[in-house]
Amino acid sequence: MSDRPARLGLAARWARVKQTAAPVAWDVFAAEYVALGVLYALRHNRQGEPEGITLDLLAYTVLIAFELGVLASCVLDGVGPRLSRTRLLGPDGEPAPASRRLARFALWQVWATAFIAAAALALYVARLVSIPLDVWFGELSDEARAVVYGLVGSLGIALFHLSGLLYPEGRLPHETASQTRFESVQGRVAEEAVLPWYRQSVWWIAVLTIAMTYLVGWRIAEIRLGEIVTGMKDVGPLASALMRPQFGILRDCAWAMVETVYLALMATTFAVPVAIVLSFFGARNIMPQTFLGTTVYTVMRAFFTVTRSIEPIVWAVIFVVWVGLGPFAGMMALLVHSVAALGKLYSEQVESIAPGPVEAVRATGAGPVHTIVYAVWPQVVPPFVAFTLYRWDINVRMATVVGLVGGGGIGGLLVQYQGMLQWREVALIVWMITLVVWLMDITSARVRERIL
């Protein structure tokens, strides 16, 4: 043992900072979640609204849960250490004894509080932030003050943990003083004696979390099973209308259906070339491992994820405002969503190709574009075709949905007749949609089978 610890590189310190913070973060999240659930369960009104929760109550709950979370992670070996695969070890490399754990907990409070106070004071003295004290205690609303306290607290704690980077070993004072540390126990868990599940805190927290989710979820979703039976009499007319569709609007209905199918077709075919080109920029194995290459890759993937997470119906709302009501808005909505969805699927396919042929073609002296065309392209064509057909299938179904908000096609017709409560006309439209979607489904499945 040398008396002076070796200075670690920044990357190693960062790894330690993460290792210290991750177990606590998990448990704090779990504790906050359960505590807020309990608060809701105790204080909601008959409509399921969180009416009885005052700001004071909320603040105390959050604070207490926070402390409990920290306690759970470092004293009880809670969910956090399990999820981040670490254990709190003492100076001898064995699981830390209870006294040291409590010391760590107490010292954490002291150091974190001191750090936040010192940081706030330093900023104030350096006049980097101005804290108008009269406004602070006088005019600030309770809500605003709560937000500020929350921000200062969480930012302060985050900064406190980040300050571990400044110590030569990447360890915070409360860790050094209590001589405890979270260490990765990859593979060591199995060696430890396994307690029955009801004696492991991790199970208690898991059970609590899940129970709370369903308890609260049941109230929030306003689930009333009785309505299913008592409400049945209202569906009667609807059901009988469904059996007697009004064929008078067959011509309009068929035309709207044609519009829908073409809308989906246009969106799919225009999306494919765009998605193909973009997908290569979103494939890790194609982009060069340089700063620029990685940036383009990350931006591309983020674009796919964000664009895809916005549903076509939301895009339709946007495009109706942008280009006006009608099929064009619907097509644009499907197009944008398809580019993102196909781009993601395509680029994952590009990433999963065999790397050998690419290496071999590069070795012949081929340029990057030729390498893609000769070594990558042949490998990805079949999955690309399959995904495209699948997407075309989805787009036909989605085309009826974008119609609901003015994106053209049969969805518009459906909303129109539903609004006038003309259920027999609605019935014809629903049957029509069912038939077409069913046919599309079968056809594309058949074609996919042939190709793959």
């Binding site: 290496e359 071999a360 002296g365 030729h370 390498t371 000769y374």
Partner: protein
């Protein structure tokens, strides 16, 4: 012709694959590269044509600095070095002919080859290369439909399209049966003798090394362990290269 000086490669995860390796390879040699798996053979071969960028050291090919080459210059260097691999690395869904034509991409890098419109002379050359390795009749098959030995011969034909001066072979027979291995090695030996092609080939079987090699280079933990004639490898040397516990297995 090829001069490697103080070549070092450290991977991003800290693995030191090559440590200060220096080798000179004159024209016309058949160099066999031996060593345990993970001793740096593949890394060395891939540094020579820059599929992997070395961390330190210098590689001169015909007096040109390989390590400093970029873009077009690097591609011109690469096209003079044919390479074949343990897993053949053919595009299995493409035809044999298209795979072989890909060997010409270092020369014909325009839009025509991108669209697959190859000049008649190039296509004829591709057939000739396939004939040379004895599978001229397989040109229209999918590469995946061929046996392992046939696939490796397609790979040789692809490399021949480059009109290479140096042949890099990364364990070319490790996934083949002994008889097919000998056929493939025979083709390499033939090219070496009749055209004076320089070959650097990594192998696991010393019997093949003795049969075809004019020189053996051994790596251990990324360091040069032995450099000499194939018949100089006796029991003691063998243990030096492969470790004390190793016994030589004789195939045939």
């Amino acid at each position: 012709m090829l001069s490697i000086a103080n070549l070092t490669k450290v991977y991003d995860d800290g693995t030191r694959a090559l440590r200060d390796v220096s080798i000179d390879v004159p024209e016309g040699e058949f160099v066999i590269l031996i060593g345990l798996s993970g001793s740096g053979k593949s890394t060395l071969l891939r540094c020579i044509n820059r599929l992997i960028d070395p961390t330190d050291g210098r590689i001169l090919f015909d007096g040109r600095d390989v390590c400093a080459a970029k873009g077009r210059e690097l591609r011109v260097i690469r096209r003079q070095m044919g390479m074949i691999f343990q897993q053949f690395n053919l595009v299995s869904r493409s035809t044999v002919l298209r795979n072989v034509l890909a060997g010409r991409l270092g020369y014909e890098s325009g839009l025509r080859s991108l669209a697959g419109l190859w000049p008649r002379t190039t296509v004829q050359r591709a057939y000739a290369c396939l004939d040379r390795v004895g599978i001229g009749d397989k040109a229209d098959n999918r590469a995946a439909a061929l046996s392992g030995g046939q696939q490796q011969r397609v790979a040789i034909a692809r490399a021949l399209m480059q009109e290479p001066r140096l042949f890099l072979a990364d364990e070319p027979v490790a996934s083949l049966d002994p008889a097919t291995s000998d056929t493939v090695m025979h083709h390499l030996g033939e090219l070496n003798r009749s055209e004076g092609l320089t070959v650097i080939c990594s192998l696991h079987f010393l019997s093949l090394a003795r049969k075809y090699g004019t020189r053996v280079i051994a790596l251990r933990d990324g360091k040069l362990q032995f450099d000499g004639k194939p018949d100089e490898i006796d029991e003691a040397r063998f243990k030096q290269i492969y470790g004390e516990e190793a016994e030589e297995v004789e195939v045939r």
